[in-house]
Amino acid sequence: MTKTEKIQRLAELTAGQESTSGASLWKEAARRLRSSKMALIGGAIILLFLIVAVIGPWIAPFSPTAQTWRDEVFANQGKFVNPRAENWFGLDHLGRDLFSRFLVGARQTLLVGVISTLIGLIVGALIGGISGAAATLGGDAGRRVDSVVMRFIDMMLALPSLLLAVSVAAVMGQSLTTVMIAVGVVQVPIFARLLRGSMLAQGGADYVLAARALGIRKRRIVLTQIVPNSLSPVIVQCTLTLATAIIEAAALSYLGLGNPDPAVPEWGVMLSTAQRFFDNAPLMAVFPAVGIIITALGFTLLGEAMREALDPKLRG
């Protein structure tokens, strides 16, 4: 009965036991994300959407702007063309192929979503980050800066998102850029509040106190400790915002503030154009609407699944 034998037997038996010592937050979150049905469906939808957005303009069977079947559609008489072998989604009021417009429009929709989210994220995170850093480590002066900035953010939040967007659009005129900026501006206060709140929560954590006690410079603490640990809600919000942005852009189009350029079909614009002919050609509205709903749903599902995966309260 040697000593090594004793240790070996024990090691074999201990190995059979489940280890409760944890994986890192991100690893654990990734594992839970993979096993989440919501994330799976959302991811699949987004993937499909991305593929269509990227290759859509190349695989579109017809030109999205050519009024090829102009003589078959008489919108003012309520005569439309429904889906058929040649035109899978039918024709719009000007005799254009709706399927081609749908494919090309996916890319525009994606662009509007991504760019307006980026605008909201960058500006909002900058404001929120400065405010949060000032509040956590800036002393009294920092807290004053923070409170002024937050008043401003509260003010922006007091405006209904649509009106904020309308105001921006009114100043900038009607264009795709306007829509992106208008939708992005609406997201600014949301991102700013989120990052600041998250940083404030982290700023009070013991590890920040420990870092300060070690004499690490404040700027370094903010950049290497507080910000990385505050990012997860922001990442979740980004995903959710992609959905909101696409829906808000559609609403702006409905209010007549969308992109007026007929050469660039976009789902929101297509939908708001189609609603005028809803009585006679409901399908014309249904295709872009379903496109918007499914895409928004994809981002929402993924965002929600990420939120659940990252929620420490739900771990274990």
Partner: protein
């Protein structure tokens, strides 16, 4: 309590002041400025200068701002370019319609959303939970105006269950007392008018309720799930209390706290939604008026509306905070 109200009201002042600065800057940045908005785009320079002098636009900016502010405080929001009527009068005329619509929408959202969210949490993972959660996710993803359009097409145009536009049927001769169509009927005894007004409200209110409903369902569900895991619920159970008491006194009461806050924050999106739904149903409220103001670049109306909405939003949230402090004793002390 009074001190809390006073302090919160004082806090409003800087917010509204800031907003007025923002709006003033915005007005000045508008392409062409008010002169071209009044005269149209083909106005000559001389005419523009005359109007500018008339409106005091040749004065230094701070003087202009001061006047702007004074007018807002006096509730003189200018004259609508579209109708030629004072903006304030236009609002007060249409305000009751929007209030009615928003209240009904919020009522639907709360009355349906809270029990649904609660049941979903209680039967977590069951079919009710799964359908409530997926339903609310889809609800958030449907553009409000498309939902309104769809409801109108199906229930008004095809099935004919509800009227498809307006606040009251055209043939109806209802006496107006308060401007609230449903209330007026009750006050004057014209119950058919009340019924008619309610029928007109149903579809727009349902469309408008979609987003608040979706948010409230998920919020209630998440909140109830959290509270169910709290220690004090276990304590209540350890006393052998009846499940009804545990649910009502210990779970729901605590779980509703975040939902109350959400209701306040949702008013913003409700008003955005009102602009869209009212215009789909030609429902003559503020929302539809704004829609036409956007089309007609009626800036005095837009400025007035934004100021008005911001104030409403802030006041509603003040009320919500007060309600919250009544329910949660922890807030009261501070």
């Amino acid at each position: 309590m009074l001190r809390l109200v006073a302090r919160r009201l004082l806090q409003l002042i800087p917010t509204l002041l800031g907003l007025s600065v923002l709006l003033f800057v915005w007005l000045n940045r508008l392409p062409g400025g008010p002169a071209s908005a009044i005269l149209g785009e083909r106005a000559t320079d001389a005419e523009v200068a005359r109007i500018n002098r008339l409106l005091g636009l040749d004065q230094p900016l701070y003087v202009q701002y001061w006047r702007f502010l004074k007018r807002i405080v006096e509730l003189d929001l200018g004259t609508s370019v579209q109708t030629g009527q004072p903006v304030w009068d236009e609002f007060t005329l249409r305000f009751p319609a929007t209030v009615e619509l928003s209240l009904l929408a919020m009522l639907i959202a709360v009355v349906v959303g809270v029990p649904l969210g609660y049941l979903a949490a209680k039967r977590r993972g069951g079919w009710l939970d799964v359908s409530a959660v997926s339903g609310s996710l889809i609800g958030i993803c449907i553009p409000v105006f498309f939902l309104a359009l769809l409801l109108k097409q199906v229930f008004a145009v095809h099935l004919g269950w509800f009227p498809s536009y307006g606040r009251l049927s055209t043939g109806l001769n209802a006496t107006e007392v308060t401007g609230f169509a449903t209330l007026d009927g009750l006050l004057t005894g014209e119950f058919d008018a009340t019924w008619d007004a309610i029928m007109h409200l149903v579809l727009p209110a349902v469309a408008l309720a979609s987003i608040p409903l979706a948010v409230i369902v998920r919020m209630t569900r998440a909140s109830v799930l959290e509270v169910l895991g709290e220690d004090y619920v276990r304590t209540a159970e350890s006393k052998g209390l009846h499940p009804k008491v545990v649910r009502g006194r210990h779970v729901l009461r605590n779980a509703l706290l975040p939902v109350i806050t959400a209701v306040g924050l949702l008013t913003g999106s409700l008003l955005s939604g009102a602009v869209l739904t009212e215009s789909v149903f030609s429902f003559n409220g503020i929302g539809q008026f704004i829609r036409t103001a956007i089309d007609g670049r009626d800036y005095p109306v837009l400025v007035g509306f934004i100021m008005f909405i911001a104030m409403t939003y802030v006041l509603i949230n003040l009320l919500v905070d007060l309600a919250y402090s009544l329910i949660d004793p922890r807030v009261r002390v501070h």
